[in-house]
Every structure is written in C-alpha cells, then in structure tokens.
Symmetry: none
Subunit: 316 residues, 2 copies
C-alpha cells in the first residue's frame, strides 16, 4: 500500500467521520467507537471536515438564492439586516413582495414585550407595507412619523402612513403636524420650536427602529409627482448630483446629504441614528437602484428590504 502523508490520512479520517455524522446521521459517540477513537477526537474530525469544506450543504429551495444575496449585501455594505425577496419578473406593482416582507419585519418588532419607539417615513411603498399589517394590540409601543402629514396644497398628505398603521396597530401614535417642505430654513426653525413638534422630534430621535421608503429622483419620482418640487427644481437638483431621497432628505450618489436650499427646507425629522438604532430602507425596482445604492453606501440606512434584481445590482 502506498504510504500517504500524515495530513492526507487525517483528512480521510475527517471525511469518514463527517460522512458518518452528516450523511449517515450517527452521533459522535457512535462514530468514536466505530473508528476506535475517543469521542472528543471524533468531534475534532467532524469539525475538521466542516472547516476543510469537505462537507457541502446546500438548500434546495427557491429562496436559497435570496438568502445568499442577502448575506452578500449585508457584508459588502456593513448593514445590520438585509431581506431579499424574489423578483417578480412579470412586472407587477412596485411593492409586491417587499411590502409583505416589510410588514412581517414590522410585526416582529411590534411583538416585542419591551416598549419600543417605532418611527416611519412615508410614501407609496410604506403605505403598501402598512396595508399588509395584521391587527395587533401593542399599547406599550409608540409609533412616530418622521415626516409631515400636510401636502403642499394644505390638505392631508396622500400617504398618511401613520394613520393607516394606527388603524391596524393599536398603539400610541404621533404624527408630525407639519408640511413636508416649508418655505425657508427660518420657518423650519420656528415650526420645530413649537412644543408639540419639539416633543415629537425628540421622540423620533429615540426611535429603536425606523422604516423608511427610498425615493428616486427624476420628473417621475415621488417628489415631483406629488407636487413637492417643480420640474425645474428637480432638474437642478439632479444636475447637482442628487440621486435619491429619504423622508425628503436628498442625497447624492455617495449617500451624502446635499448642502442645498431644498434640504434646508425639509421639515422632516432627521433620520434616527444608524449607530444606535436600526433604520430599515424599503424599495425595489430598476428606477430606485441608484438611490438604494447611494443610501446604503452613505449609511443613510443600516437595514434594507429589497428584491433580487436590486441586490444583484448592489453587488456589481
């Protein structure tokens, strides 16, 4: 018989032990006695087999790809949490899939027993998300809106996310009685100084978890469509490098908030700390790709719920 090197022989043993453990399903005790070694040595061989990647495990299920992508995205951008849902190739609404996933995530937070502060932004995606929420009683938690609920024309805003949410979730909720955009930085100061607004802003800063939509810019983007910005203003913003917005805060392709007149007029609360809390962005679709990439690059968010298509783009 050919003399084999010591390490090769050891790997053979590891392979045998790993086979007996994972494929044949024996316990390490049984393996030890059948191979004539101690239980601890059997354990070492099994872990060696794993460490040397002799044992290949694979998941035979459609969501396997999503989980792989989620892991890769989380590592690449240093995010706390990533959920990837399967892409629906057949077009469909821009919120199919992620709304359900985001609702499930919100539910997980609301089911905690310790009281939490949950902050929400606004937008179509978030509206679709809260529409997926089941009825829950959670009187210990507080829900606070980051953005104003008054539209440019003075009416209540289109996507009154926080009220829809309160319909389903019985929790104390705190809307932001402000417009989304005010006319000047000074006006914002004045409004934010009001006692009622002040306390809501303070609460939002203490949010344990935040769910926000990620908006793309462009004349078809939400800021224009919903009348917050004129087409001309939008073009100028984009010329200055703006690619996306969260709660109205406009950022460039690096994810840095732009230092421009529009951002000075945003009345929304600042996005809660990504150091001390979880801020989950929700969005999918080709049009939002650039905005999403910027948001995760610049750490405007530290959690993401999106689809396979966007995940793959983020990994290129």
């Amino acid at each position: 018989m050919v003399k084999r090197s010591e390490t090769t022989a050891r790997l053979d043993d590891a392979a045998r032990a790993g086979w007996l453990y994972y494929v044949a399903g024996r316990t390490q005790d049984e393996i030890a006695s059948s191979m004539g070694i101690s239980r601890q040595s059997a354990q070492r061989l099994v872990s060696l087999a794993v460490a040397e990647r002799l044992i290949k495990v694979r998941l035979d299920h459609p969501i396997a790809a999503c989980l792989e992508l989620a892991n890769a995205v989380r590592n690449k951008y240093g995010l706390r949490q990533v959920d990837i849902v399967p892409s629906d190739p057949g077009a469909g609404a821009a919120t199919v899939g992620i709304a359900e996933a985001a609702a499930a995530e919100i539910e997980r937070w609301l089911k905690k027993t310790d009281p939490i502060v949950l902050a929400v932004g606004t937008g179509r995606t978030l509206k679709a998300t809260v529409d997926q929420l089941p009825a829950i009683e959670c009187i210990n938690h507080r829900i606070v809106s980051l953005t104003g609920n008054i539209a440019p024309d003075g009416s209540a805003a289109y996507y009154n996310v926080i009220f829809s949410m309160a319909d389903a979730v019985k929790a104390r909720h705190f809307p932001m009685p402000l417009p989304v955009l005010v006319t000047s930085a000074e006006e914002r100061e004045t409004l934010h100084a009001q006692q009622l607004v002040r306390s809501t802003l303070d609460m939002s800063a203490q949010a344990d978890v935040t769910f926000v939509g990620i908006g793309e810019l462009g004349i078809d983007g939400p800021l224009c469509v919903d009348g917050f910005l004129e087409k001309g203003e939008m073009m100028e913003l984009m010329d200055n490098g703006a690619v996306g917005e969260i709660c109205g805060w406009i950022f460039d392709s690096e994810g840095k908030l732009l230092d421009n007149p529009i951002n000075e007029r945003v009345a929304s609360a600042p996005i809660p700390s990504r150091e001390t809390s979880v801020v989950i962005g929700i969005g999918k679709g080709k049009r939002k790709m650039k905005a999403i990439k910027a948001a995760v690059t610049g750490h405007q968010i530290n959690g993401l719920i999106t689809d396979e298509e966007v995940a793959e783009y983020l990994l290129t």
Copy 2:
C-alpha cells in the same frame, strides 16, 4: 397580492431556518430571535427542512479506502464505473449513503447539455435515490421507466419512481403502462405489441444510461414482500439456483437470466445493452451481496454503486 398556501409559507420559513442553521452556521437561538419565534419553533423549522429534504448534504472528498476498493472492483469485474461509499457499521437504513451517491451520479448525467435518454427501474433503493434529487430543469432529456407501474392488485405500484423523479426533474418522462408480471408469455406479446408500449420499449432500448436497483431473492426479498410472487414460487425459484433480480428479471449466481416460467411473464423492458450504454446497479447490505456479485459477474450491469462491505465481499 398572490395568495400563498399556509404550507408553502411554512416551507419557506423552514428553508430560511435551515439555511441560517446549516449554511450560515447560526445557532437556533439566533435564528429564533432573528425570525421572531421561539427557540423550539426554530428547532422545528430546522428539522422540517431536513425532513422535507430541503437540506442536502454531500461529502466532497474521495476517501482513499473507498477509492481503492472501487478501483479493485472495477478491474476485477470489468465494470465501467464503480462508486463505493463508506459502510455505516451501526445498521441503519438499507439505502443510507448509496442513495445520495446515486443521486449525485444521476445529477451528473442530467447536467449534460446533449440530450440523453435515462432509464430507471424501480424499488426501495431507487425511490430513496430520487428523493435525494434536487430540482433540475432539463427539458432536453427523456426519462423512461423499464418496469410497469401497475401492482399485482391493479393499483399503481408502490414505488412510482419515475413520477417522483419527474416531480424533481422537469423532463419528459415515459412510464410503462403495464403490470410488472403478466399471466403468460402470450399476454406479454400482446401487451408489448401495443403502440404506446412499443414506443416506450424502443426508447428504453436506446437509453444512454440506466439506473436499476438490485433485488435479492428470498421470502423477505422485494418480489415476495410486495406480493409479486407467492412464497412457494419463490422457494422453487431459489431451488433452481436463482439469487437475484433486476427489474423482475431473475438470474442465477452466474448472473445468467433463468429460463423459467417466471422470466417469461416479466413485462419489463429488457435491460439496455451493456455493450453500448451504461447500466448502473445500486444496492448494498449483506442480504444483497450474492445478488450483486451475480449481477456483476454475469454483466447484467456494467456500473455499480455500493458500500465498502459489499465491495470487500466482491473482492474475496
């Protein structure tokens, strides 16, 4: 929104939990908190993923001892291909190990780009094998059954291997709409002359590769247990020197097909040519040793997947 069934959603969760556990290496506690469920539920999901065969484990290492045995067996009996898996000393099911190995071999064939015809027999071993197959799309290939799918009592046969296989593998598949045993040689002629049967038989004769179980005889053997033969018939067969069967074709210890009334009533397709195609027998265990030795001796098969124990017996 697409309504998904409850069981589908549960399988999705099971897949996720299984992935986190086996691929990502998280503990069940971590999985539980990240999925918002109790540890016990997480444990249940993980075992569900295993029970539903979503998790596939394979050993990616040539164990030297098995390789040497395989080489020796291949040379001694002039086989084209031999796979030996480690023996599991602690009894265990009769298919542990070889089912995984055979599934991997089938997968290799199905991944070919050129269209192939793959023929399968039936039996417990083959059923366990196809249960290990992952989902594959291979619309270019054809899968044909060598044996009838009608049991003695007229019901569909116990191990509808080809249908289970078609569940996992999306390929055209051709069952054999016949009983396994008919009442006379004349009836067999008549049935085989039917157009539908004829074309399936022709296809099986063109198989590029064939996977068959190797059955032992005896009152505990499959032919008796499954009610194809009476105890008396079996005793008589064994008195005449029969030791094993493949697809119902009964052979003696030399591997020669017996010239007796039973073989005249076997409605299965002939075993495809060992000259021009690969015919792989699958089986292990003490009880099958004689049958396996006979099959390789008489060249009923030209490929073998078995375990160390049988391999050593074959070399004595």
